[in-house]
Structures are given as C-alpha cells and as structure tokens.
Amino acid sequence: MKTFKMGGVHPEENKISSSAVIEQMPLPAQVVVLMNQHLGAPATPVVAKGDKVRVGQLIGEAQAFMCANVHSPVSGTVAKVDVCKDAFGFAKPAIYINVEGDDWVETVDRTPDIKRECNLEPQEIVAKLKEMGIVGLGGATFPAHIKYNVPEGKKAEYLIINAVECEPYLTSDHRVMMEHAEEICIGVSILRKALGVPNAYIGIENNKPEPIAVMTAMSKNFQGIIVEPLKVKYPQGAEKQLINAITGRKVPSGKLPIDVGCVVSNVGTAFAVYEAVQKNKPLIENILTVTGKKLPSQHNYQVRIGITYNDIIKHSIGELPENTGKVISGGPMMGKAVVNLDAPTTKGASSVLVMDESEARRAPETNCIRCGKCVNACPMGLEPYLFSSLVKNNRIEEAKIHNILDCIECGCCFFSCPANKPLTDEIRLGKNRVRAMMAAKK
C-alpha cells in the first residue's frame, strides 16, 4: 500500500463522529461575514449599511490578484460594514447581516437533481471558480482560480484529490464522500477538464474503508478517476507528502506542486466546484465536524459561513462542558486554538473540536535527551532539535542554511518529543524571523 517515504507519525485516530449524518445548521439572527476568509488580501465590501441582500449575492469583491469573492450566506439587511474580532481576537474587516427569511438569488439551481453534463471550456471553468469565490477547503484556503490557472510554460500531469483526512477527529470529508460521492466525481471531472490532465487520483487513507468502497464504486462510472487507498500515516494530507505518496515525485524546496506537474485539491473543494459550476452556487456553506471525546453527542453539519462558534456550539451540544480546556478550529495536529467564541466561522473551517482540560494541557518541558525522535518523525527530513537551539540563540542565518523554511509545520516533532519541547512553536518563530531577515535584506 502506498504512502510517503520519510518520517511521519500515527496519532490516535479518534474518528468518533464518522457515523453522524450531515445535518443542516439552522440560521441564527445575525451572521458576520469576514472579508478575508482566504489566503491573500481581503475582499472589498460592495454593499453598504441598510442594503437588502439575498443568499448567494456578491458582497465582497476580489480586487487584488491573490483574493477571492465573498457571497452573502443569508438573506436580510446589512446591519453594518465594520470590523469584527476573528477567532484569535484580531480585528478584521467584516459585514454584519441581520437574517430575514431564506431568499436565494434566482441563478442558483436549488433542485435536488444531479447535473452530470458540463460543456464549459477550461477557461470558462476557471472563470466560474473565480466568480463563485471557491477556495481550497483543505485548510490553506488558497483561491482555486489561481491554482487552476496553470502558468505559462508549466504543464499539469496529475490531478490529485486529497481525501486523506489524516488529522485525528475530523470526519467532514468522510461524510461528504459517503453522502455526495457522485457530485464529488462530477466535480473532479470538471477540475480534470480545467487542467486538461488524463487522470485524477483520489487519495484516501485505508482507515476509511466505507468511503473507499463508495468512491471506488462511483469512480467506475467516470472516465479517468482512480481511487488510491493509502496507508494510514500523518501528515499524508500535506500537499508535498500526498504527491510523494501517489506519484513518488518530490516537490523541491521553495517550489510549488505545479513545478512537478501536480495539482492537489481537497475533496471538499471538489464538491464545492460541482455546486459552483453545475448549480451556480457560490461558496457559502461548508461541512463542519463538531466533535470531542467528552461531548455528549458528535455531529457533522452543513453550515453557512458567518455563523459564530457560539451559535454552532449552542445548537449542537447546548453549552461547552464544565471543564473544557480548549476549542480548536481544525484538527488537533494543525488546527488553531480559538479564544474568541463570538467570532464567525469562515470558508476554511473544517471542525469545532472541544478538548477537556486534561487533554488540552501540555506536559511540562524537560531536558532534551537527544533521542532523535523529532529527526526521525520529520516528514521533510529536517532537524527540529537543531532549530530549537538555533532559534533560542537567535542564530537565524544558520537556521536558514539548515532549510528551516522547508518545514510544513505538521507538528510531528512536538508530537513525538518525549521531553515535551515546543519544537513546532520554536520552528514557526524561527521561520518568521528568517522571513523577516530576508525581507530586511531585500
């Protein structure tokens, strides 16, 4: 069975919400739509206070190159165009909308029928992705129209669909595959057409036998879609590792997947692409897992963007358990701890993971015993222990020479460290300092 060659760890899987069917999250009284829900510059608001908006209407326009459109997830009145504190407490431009009914724009095809034919040209597909504000839903929220617009002189040979879901706890991709297999396959076909590649590979870790079976059966009906079961190993869902696992190629330092002829998209993105291209539905909803070992129930929801964490928690489990220690947006390996539960969710949110105090607390740091576990766990072949001391002593130049910028921040080093050293934190700090140093030199 295929997997990537180097390093990696195997955290406890904890896919406890994998059997929870996707439910629809009801609309709250007000939603807050952030203008930067994607990698790059924030979108520019095109509505003003008092404007009536409908579901799917453009409210934030992409004006910069690295940017994506933002559409209204609800119908109602714009309460204000202001700033809103995001999940980490920083103020970001946002549009507040008071919800009134659920009135969609006419262009969106809301019928339940599956539309299989797509006669658009590659250029038109990319334009559609841009119009609908599609971004990568694997976590990085990279604007899709930029990814699928292959630059001059480069050629895509492989389309890889990331259905690995290597993060513990997360099950949103699992559920999407179980419930929307056909739509995903149509979405993949569309992306395949946009790139002009012969084959698309859907990588799924073999701890998900049901989705593998469903997707394999469905892919038989489509030309050029190959389901590739992969051995369970974290961080298989990282772009470079997935390319390595499926094609055996290695993305060189500082290069993009397209430089080795690969384009990687998340399975959730493929579903969003289907809805955008075939149904004209902008990216206003995503699938979100609400999970945690100590929660009374486990859920998977289809959630409109802009609903706050508090609203989601209130609807799914009532209130947080008494000794909640941490709320994480995303998986436990690479997700971010949330401090402001009044913040709205964004396009890239894949889960609300609730950990109790004992799970959330880090054990005290002890001396490094030079066991080398971090070196062996690193999927990029780096030396985390070395970065730790270099960063501490501010030897930034050396850290750069030892390829600190290749780090993908997967967290395998901290995960495996018996001394509980915050290696991933230190490396992140080091990377920031290296970038600052390089910027200062320019």
Partner: protein, 319 residues
C-alpha cells in the same frame, strides 16, 4: 466556565516521555540482572543494589543541595546508570563498596557536572566504569569462578574471562560458542549471557527506544574486522564468533552505545558511530594494553558524536 487554553498546534501529544523511556530501559535490563544473580549469586544482587542506590542518592543530593533545582530522580535515568555500572564490574565482594565510588564518579562527574540528563557528552556509566578500571585495576580484573549455576555463597575464587585467557595465550581453554551465548562464561555482571542481552535489546527495538543501526553496525564491524584478522592469521587472532560473544561487545552495542544522549541523531550518523565503536574495540583488544576495549571505544566515539551530528544530516525531503 474555565478559561480557554491557547497554544500553537499540535494540540495532542504521543504521550511519550523521558520517564517512560528510562523505565522501559530498566525493564529491558532485568533479564540480565536475573542471569547475573543466578550466576554470581548474592554478590551480583548486592552490587546492583548498592550501585543503583548510590546513583539515585548522589543525584538527589547534587540536585537538592548543590544545584538547588527540582530533583529528577523519578525519571529513572539514575537507575539506568546504576544498573549499567553494576553490569560492567566483576561480581566480587570487593566491588560492593568500590561500585559506590564508581557511582559517585558516574553521576557527579559523568552527568551532573554537565548539567544533568541530556547534557552529558559521555555515557555516565562508562565514565564510572573506566574510572574504576584505571584506579582499581586489580579489583576490576579479578573475576569470580566460572561455570557454576546458583552459587549461594560469598566466597569468590579468582577465575578468568575468555578475553583474559586469550591475552595470556590460552586459546584452547575457551568455552564453546553456545555456552558463551547462553551465559556459561566468566566476566562482568551484565556480559555473561548474550541471550539475556538480546531479549532486552529486542524489547527496546520493539518499543522503538533504540534502532537497529548502532547495534548492528557495531557488532557487524567487530565481526567482519576480527574475521579479516582471523583469516590473515588464525594463530594470533580470535575467530569472529568468539570475538562478538565474549566480553562487553553485546552489552556495549545494545545498551551502552545506544544511549540516546551520547549517540548521534541521524541514521547515517548512527551507522558511522557503530562502525567506529566496532573498529576501535577490535584495535584495543588486539593491540592495546587492556584485554577489553568496548568502554574506551564507546567513550571515544561519544566524543565524536557532536561532529557526527554536524556532518551526517538526514536526507532532506526537498533537495
């Protein structure tokens, strides 16, 4: 409601800890301890107890009264040092008190003077052992009698180790390879039974506390190098099988050279480390003044470890 915690990702941990690693090493040393007790009697037990107790005590005293830092005796590393030190001395009655001196040197000079666990460049148990070997050469090379199981008495009769016999040119008196493997030979506490060492080593390998690189390259190099010498001149040199089954090569390769703190981090560095240990051991055995060279070989390679860490980088993913 409680305050939410915040930290950088990852938010989960493998639950691996230094403490667990050290206690697992102790567990792996138990087969050897049992063989030593069965073979050398109460002396072996007493030496081990004194050694472990002294190591733990000295570490506690130094941390509590000299360094004034939180004590870390529970992490099990002092126990590992104590056991390994005990396994490296002969099971004679003299050693019961001498090993306490060794423990003081091992902990105070070998470990705590550098800043405690993780900071020491040399294997503390070997520092203690070599100190004893140089300071008390007679006691350290007087071996108890050979070839009697369960001798429940404190009387020790001077015997000879296979290596001692070889040094004196009595190759025909050597025991058979199988006997050496299961432990029917003289020597230090821990080195009598290769079988017990292998059981412990396999446990550590399964627990992923050690990797195969150092033991295999160490023993393999010793085997090949001594094999070449033996083929060149079987009269003077020992055959390779005897070489690796006698003395401390098995113990050294599986438990001393693989010490995490003092061995290289990368796989390639570990291979070079093991090869260096193997070569130096055979060189010291055949051309040095001492019959056994494992301790010196490992200590010399410990000194090279920082260089190996510098030179032997892991293969980068994105080259």
């Amino acid at each position: 409601m409680k305050l939410l915690n915040i930290s950088g990702s990852p938010h989960v941990h493998s639950d691996e800890s230094t403490k667990k690693i050290m206690w697992r090493v102790n567990l792996a040393l138990i087969p050897m301890l049992l063989v030593a007790i069965a073979y050398f009697g109460l002396n072996a037990l007493l030496i081990s107890l004194v050694s472990v107790a002294c190591c733990v005590l000295f570490q506690w005293l130094i941390e509590k009264f000299i360094l004034k830092v939180p004590t870390t005796i529970c992490d099990g590393s002092a126990v590992v040092t104590g056991l390994l030190l005990a396994f490296n001395v002969p099971a004679t009655a003299d050693m019961i008190w001498l090993v306490a001196i060794g423990a003081l040197v091992a902990i105070a000079i070998g470990k705590m003077s550098f800043g405690g666990l993780g900071k020491n460049p040399f294997n503390p148990a070997l520092v203690g052992r070599v100190f004893l070997l140089i300071s008390f050469p007679v006691q350290m090379t007087t071996w108890p009698t050979v070839g009697k199981w369960f001798p429940m008495s404190f009387d020790t009769v001077a015997g000879a180790t296979p290596l001692g016999l070889l040094k004196e040119g009595g190759a025909e008196a050597l025991p058979q390879a199988w006997e050496m493997f299961v432990g029917h030979i003289g020597g230090s506490l821990g080195e009598v039974s290769a079988l017990a060492i292998l059981i412990g080593a396999i446990y550590l390998l399964c627990r992923k506390i050690i990797s195969w690189h150092i033991p295999v390259s160490f023993i393999g190099t010793a085997f090949i190098f001594s094999g070449i010498l033996w083929l060149v001149n079987p009269e003077t040199f020992v055959d390779p099988l005897t070489t690796i089954l006698t003395g401390g090569i098995m113990l050294g390769a599986c438990f001393m050279a693989t010490d995490m703190v003092t061995s290289p981090m990368s796989r390639s560095g570990q291979l070079i480390f093991g090869v260096g240990c193997g070569l130096l051991t055979i060189i010291i055995r055949n051309w040095g003044a001492y019959p056994e060279g494992v301790s010196f070989a490992i200590l010399i390679m410990n000194a090279v470890t920082p260089l190996l860490n510098r030179w032997c980088k892991p293969v980068r993913f994105a080259n």
